[in-house]
C-alpha cells in the first residue's frame, strides 16, 4: 500500500483503516446497523496485520474484553450501535472513573431517522452522562482523521474516547485519503497489578474529583483546537447571526447557505463533549441570534443556552427548543433551510429567507403509489416457522379455547409483524422476547377465565446475545412459555456475521460450536427439540407439541438464510391445476408471488425455491420448474 492513497470508502471502512493505521491491537464488537462494517473490515485484514479481532456475544462483553486489553496497555477498539451502548452502559459508567492505560476507542453509531433501530437516542448525551469525551465527524474523511485523534487522546488522557457517527457518515461513501498501515507492533506492556483497577467505594470517591477535573482540562484543550485543528473551526460572517453545528449537519448548513457567502458566522465543533466553552464564548461575541443545527438531542443547544445564561449574554438561541427545528427524525438540506428561515423570522437582522429548489414535476401531481413495507425475503425460513405457529395456535384456539400471544425480538424476524403473517405482538429490545413472554405468563393466574399460551421468538445470534440469561430466569421461575429459536445459521440482519453457534470466528478460523439445543437443555428447559424449517408439517407438529407442554419448552428451528445459500430453484404455478383460491397469496406474503386481482398468481424470478407455497397449495398446482437443457 502506498504511503498515502485516495480511494472510495464507506465511513465505517475509513474508521477501520484509521484504527489499523493507529496500530490497533485488539478489536471487539457486536454487529448492529449502522456500525457493523467497522469490525468486519478490521476482521478481514486482521490475520494479515497481526490484529486480534472478535465478535463478542454482546456489547457489554465486547466492551469489557476491550477494557481488559487496554488495562494491559494495548491499543483497543470496541464497536456497536447506539442501542448496543445501552447494553454496555454498566461497565462504561464505572470505566470512566477508572480510566485506561494503552488506549480505548469506543465506536458507537447513531441512527437518526431511524432507518433500522428501535430508538433515536443520541450518544453525545451518553458521553456527557458518563463523562467520556465524544468526537463527532461529519464526513468519512473526518471519521478517518478523528479515529487517529481518538487513539491519541485516549492514550494521553488515560480515558476511553467515544467516536460517535451517524448513519450518513457510517454508511455514506466518499473519496478518502488514507495513510500507510503497518504490521501491528508487539509492544504491549502487560497487566501490572495496581489498586486503580479494582473499583471500590473508596476508590470511586477518590477518583470522582479527578474525573470532573479532567472534563475541565479536556474542554480547554478542545477550545484550543479551534486554532489548530480542522475538526473545530470558527468563521466570521458580516451579520450578527451565528450558526453552530456538529456532525453531518455541518454539510447541510453549508449547502443551505451556499447562496449567501459571508453572511453567517459559523461555529463548527467536532469535539462535542466536553463542550469547548472558551471557544464558544469567544464565538458568541457580537452574535445576537444563534441558530443551532443538530440531529437528535438538543445537546449543543443546551450547552449554548447554559453558557449564555451564566454569562448574561444577550443572544437568542434558536434550535429545537424554540420550535425552529424538528425534535426528531433525520435532517437534510431542505429541513435545514426551513429551520434557518424560521429562526430568521425571529431575528432583527435583515437577512432574506433561503429558498428551496423547485422540482421539475410537482410532487402533488404524482399518482398514489403502492406502499412497500419491508418484508421477510422470498424463501426466508422464518416465514415457514411463523406460519406453522399460526396454524398450531389456530388449532389450540378452536379446540381448547386457548389464546396465544407471540413475543418477538430484534432481528430479521421482527418482520414477522407484517401482513398477512402478523405474528409479532410485542418487540422491545434484544433478548426481551423471552422475558416478556415470561412476564406475561405470570399474569395468567390473575386473569381469571382467560387462558393464554406465551410464545417467544428469538434468533440464533440474539439467543447468545441476551437470550440465555432470560431462559435461565424463565426456567428458574417456572414460566409457562414456548421458546422458538429461529436458527438460520447467521446474524442475517446486520450482514451475516458469524456467532458462537456456527463454528467460525470473526476472522474465519474454526471455532467450537455452542449448540443451542444443548444450552437450552442444560438450562433446564423441560422439553427441547429441533425441527427442520424446510418441512412445514414437521414445523407444525413441533409447534403444536411444544405449545401443549406445560412449563418452559423450546424448539430450535434450523434452516438457511436465502441471502447466503441457494434454494432448489424456481417454482411455477400450473394454470390448469390452480383453482384461484389464492391461499398462496393470502396466507404467506412471499414477495415472489403476486397476482392482479382474482387472476392466476404468478411466481416471479426472485423465488428462491423454499417450497413453502407448494406445501400450502391445496390443489398441488405449484411445483419446481423443470430446467430446460
Amino acid at each position: 500500500m502506498p504511503l498515502s492513497s485516495k480511494r472510495i470508502l464507506m465511513g465505517n471502512e475509513a474508521i477501520a483503516l484509521a484504527a489499523m493505521q493507529a496500530g490497533v491491537q485488539i478489536a471487539s464488537g457486536y454487529p448492529g446497523t449502522p456500525s457493523s462494517e467497522v469490525m468486519e473490515t478490521i476482521a478481514s485484514h486482521a490475520k494479515k496485520y497481526g490484529i486480534y479481532a472478535e465478535w463478542a456475544t454482546n456489547e457489554k462483553v465486547a466492551l469489557e474484553t476491550a477494557v481488559g486489553a487496554a488495562y494491559s496497555g494495548a491499543r483497543a477498539i470496541v464497536t456497536m450501535k447506539q442501542v448496543g451502548l445501552n447494553v454496555a452502559s454498566d461497565p462504561l459508567m464505572s470505566l470512566s472513573y477508572i480510566g485506561v492505560k494503552g488506549s480505548l476507542v469506543i465506536l458507537v453509531s447513531d441512527d437518526p431517522g431511524p432507518h433500522s433501530s428501535q430508538t433515536e437516542q443520541d450518544t453525545r448525551a451518553f458521553g456527557h452522562f458518563a463523562n467520556i469525551p465524544v468526537l463527532d465527524p461529519s464526513t468519512p474523511q473526518e471519521a478517518y482523521d478523528m479515529t487517529l485523534l481518538a487513539f491519541r487522546l485516549s492514550h494521553e488522557m488515560e480515558t476511553p474516547v467515544i467516536l460517535r457517527t451517524t448513519t450518513r457518515v457510517s454508511h455514506g461513501c466518499a473519496d478518502v485519503i488514507t495513510g500507510d498501515i503497518a504490521q501491528v507492533a508487539r509492544d504491549i506492556e502487560g497487566f501490572v497489578r495496581d489498586k486503580r483497577w479494582t473499583i471500590f467505594p473508596k476508590l470511586t470517591s477518590q477518583r470522582h474529583p479527578l474525573l470532573e477535573e479532567l472534563q475541565v482540562r479536556l474542554s480547554d484543550r478542545f477550545s484550543g483546537y479551534f486554532r489548530d485543528n480542522s475538526f473545530n473551526s470558527i468563521s466570521r460572517g458580516n451579520s450578527s447571526i451565528g450558526i453552530a453545528v456538529s456532525g453531518v449537519s455541518y454539510l447541510y448548513a453549508k449547502e443551505a447557505t451556499r447562496d449567501y457567502p459571508g453572511t453567517f458566522s459559523l461555529f463548527k465543533v467536532g469535539t462535542v463533549y466536553p463542550f469547548p466553552e472558551k471557544a464558544a464564548l469567544e464565538f458568541l461575541e457580537g452574535i445576537t441570534d444563534l441558530i443551532v443545527i443538530e440531529e437528535l438531542d438538543p445537546y449543543l443547544e443546551e450547552q449554548f443556552l447554559q453558557l449564555a445564561g451564566r454569562h448574561h449574554l444577550n443572544v437568542r438561541v434558536h434550535g429545537k427548543k424554540d420550535g425552529c427545528f424538528p425534535v426528531s427524525g433525520e435532517y437534510d438540506v431542505d429541513v435545514v433551510i426551513d429551520g434557518i428561515n424560521r429562526a430568521l423570522e425571529g431575528s432583527d437582522e435583515d437577512v432574506p429567507a433561503l429558498s428551496h429548489s423547485s422540482p421539475a414535476i410537482n410532487p402533488a401531481d404524482v399518482p398514489h403509489l403502492p406502499v412497500r413495507a419491508p418484508t421477510l425475503c422470498a424463501g426466508c425460513m422464518h416465514r415457514t416457522v411463523f406460519y406453522a405457529f399460526k396454524k398450531a395456535a389456530g388449532r389450540l384456539r378452536s379446540k381448547q379455547g386457548v389464546d396465544s400471544v407471540f413475543s418477538g425480538d430484534i432481528g430479521c424476524y421482527t418482520l414477522g409483524n407484517a401482513q398477512p403473517l402478523n405474528m409479532v405482538d410485542t418487540c422491545l429490545c434484544m433478548g426481551a422476547g423471552i422475558s416478556i413472554a415470561a412476564g406475561l405468563s405470570h399474569t395468567q393466574e390473575y386473569t381469571s377465565g382467560k387462558r393464554a399460551k406465551q410464545v417467544a421468538f428469538i434468533g440464533d445470534s440474539t439467543f447468545f446475545h441476551s437470550g440465555i440469561a432470560a431462559v435461565v430466569s424463565a426456567v428458574y421461575n417456572n414460566a409457562d412459555i414456548t421458546i422458538a429459536v429461529l436458527d438460520n445459521r447467521t446474524t442475517a440482519m446486520t450482514g451475516h456475521q458469524p456467532h458462537p453457534g456456527i463454528g467460525m470466528t470473526a476472522v474465519g478460523s474454526p471455532a467450537k460450536i455452542i449448540d443451542i439445543a444443548d444450552v437450552l437443555r442444560s438450562c433446564g428447559v423441560g422439553m427441547v427439540r429441533t425441527a427442520e424449517a424446510d418441512s412445514l408439517d414437521e414445523c407444525v407438529a413441533a409447534a403444536t407439541e411444544s405449545m401443549q407442554f406445560e412449563g418452559p419448552s423450546a424448539i430450535v428451528f434450523r434452516g438457511r438464510c436465502v441471502a447466503i445459500s441457494k434454494g432448489a430453484g424456481q417454482y411455477v404455478i400450473d394454470k390448469d391445476k390452480c383453482t384461484r383460491c389464492r391461499l398462496c397469496i393470502s396466507q404467506l406474503g412471499c414477495p415472489a408471488i403476486f397476482s392482479v386481482s382474482s387472476g392466476l398468481p404468478v411466481i416471479q424470478d426472485t423465488c428462491s425455491g423454499c417450497d413453502l407455497c407448494a406445501q400450502v397449495c391445496p390443489s398441488g398446482a405449484i411445483a419446481l420448474k423443470e430446467v430446460s437443457q
Binding site: K6, R7, I8, T33, P34, H115, S116, T139, Q141, R168, H171, G172, C173, A174, D175, V248, L251, Y252, E255, D332, V333, D334, H356, S357, S358, P359, A360, I361, P363, D365, V366, P367, H368, L369, P370, V371, R372, A373, P374, T375, L376, C377, C412, L415, A418, Q419, P420, M493, T494, I585, G589, C590, P591, A592, I593, F594, S597, Q604, D605, T606
Partner: protein
C-alpha cells in the same frame, strides 16, 4: 461543477451496487463523491434509494429536493416516488419492469398507467427520458439480476453521465467477481447498443460545463 444522481428501486435490485459503481467511476474520473445508501432493515423488499453526488466540492450525501440531474429508477413506482428530487431539465431513465408487492395496501398498483404518467409528464420536463424493460434486456443477456448494470450502462451510452463508459466498465471489472464478469459485460454492451442513436429519442447530451478540467 456538481452532478447529482438518485438511484431508486426495491430491496434486492442492486441499488447499492449501482451507486458504488457510479461513485467509484466518478472518483476515477477525478471528482469528489459522496453517497448515501439504504442498508439494513429497510432493504428487505422495501423502497430503497441511493444518492450519488459528484462534484468538485465535498457536499453532504443527501440530494436536496429539486436538484438531481439524473434519476435512475430501477422500478417504475420507485422512480415516481422520487420525482420530487429531479431538477428542471434533469434526466430520467426508468425500468419498465414493475415489482408488484404481494401484500398490497389500499392503493392498487397498475404499472402500465404509472409508466403512462411518467411518459406524459416527464418527457417534456426532462432533458431526456429513457424508458425500457431493462430487466428483460438483462435476462435475455443472461441474468435478470443485472438490470442495475444495464441501466447505468444505458445512462452512460446515452451520454447522461459526466464521465465516459470506459470508466464505468473499468470499475465493473474490478468490483464484479470473475465468474459473473462475462454475463455482466454482455448486459453492459447490449444496454449501450439498445440506446437508439438517432436524434428522435429525445436524448440530448447533458451540458457538462466545467467537467473537462477534471476528466
Amino acid at each position: 461543477m456538481k452532478f447529482d444522481i438518485l438511484i431508486a428501486g426495491v430491496g434486492g435490485q442492486g441499488v447499492v451496487l449501482a451507486s458504488r459503481l457510479l461513485a467509484t467511476a466518478a472518483m476515477d474520473a477525478g471528482f469528489h463523491v459522496a453517497t448515501a445508501e439504504t442498508i439494513g432493515m429497510a432493504q428487505r423488499e422495501g423502497s430503497v434509494t441511493s444518492h450519488v453526488r459528484i462534484g468538485n466540492e465535498v457536499c453532504g450525501s443527501l440530494i436536496p429536493q429539486g436538484t438531481a440531474d439524473l434519476i435512475i429508477g430501477l422500478e417504475p413506482a420507485e422512480a415516481a416516488r422520487n420525482l420530487r428530487y429531479m431538477r428542471k431539465g434533469g434526466s430520467l431513465i426508468v425500468n419498465e419492469h414493475a415489482i408488484v408487492p404481494s401484500t398490497q395496501g389500499p392503493v392498487k398498483y397498475e404499472p402500465d398507467r404509472l409508466i403512462g404518467f411518467l411518459r406524459d409528464n416527464c418527457q417534456d420536463k426532462c432533458q431526456s427520458m429513457i424508458s425500457a424493460d431493462f430487466t428483460r434486456l438483462a435476462k435475455d443477456a443472461g441474468t435478470y439480476k443485472a438490470a442495475n448494470v444495464a441501466m447505468i450502462a444505458a445512462a452512460a451510452g446515452a451520454g447522461l453521465l459526466p464521465f465516459s463508459e470506459e470508466y464505468l466498465w473499468g470499475v465493473l471489472e474490478k468490483l464484479i467477481p470473475e465468474k459473473h464478469r462475462d454475463v455482466n459485460r454482455r448486459v453492459f454492451d447490449r444496454a449501450i447498443e439498445s440506446i437508439p442513436k438517432d436524434e428522435d429519442i429525445r436524448t440530448k447530451k447533458p451540458s457538462m460545463e466545467g467537467c473537462e478540467t477534471n476528466v
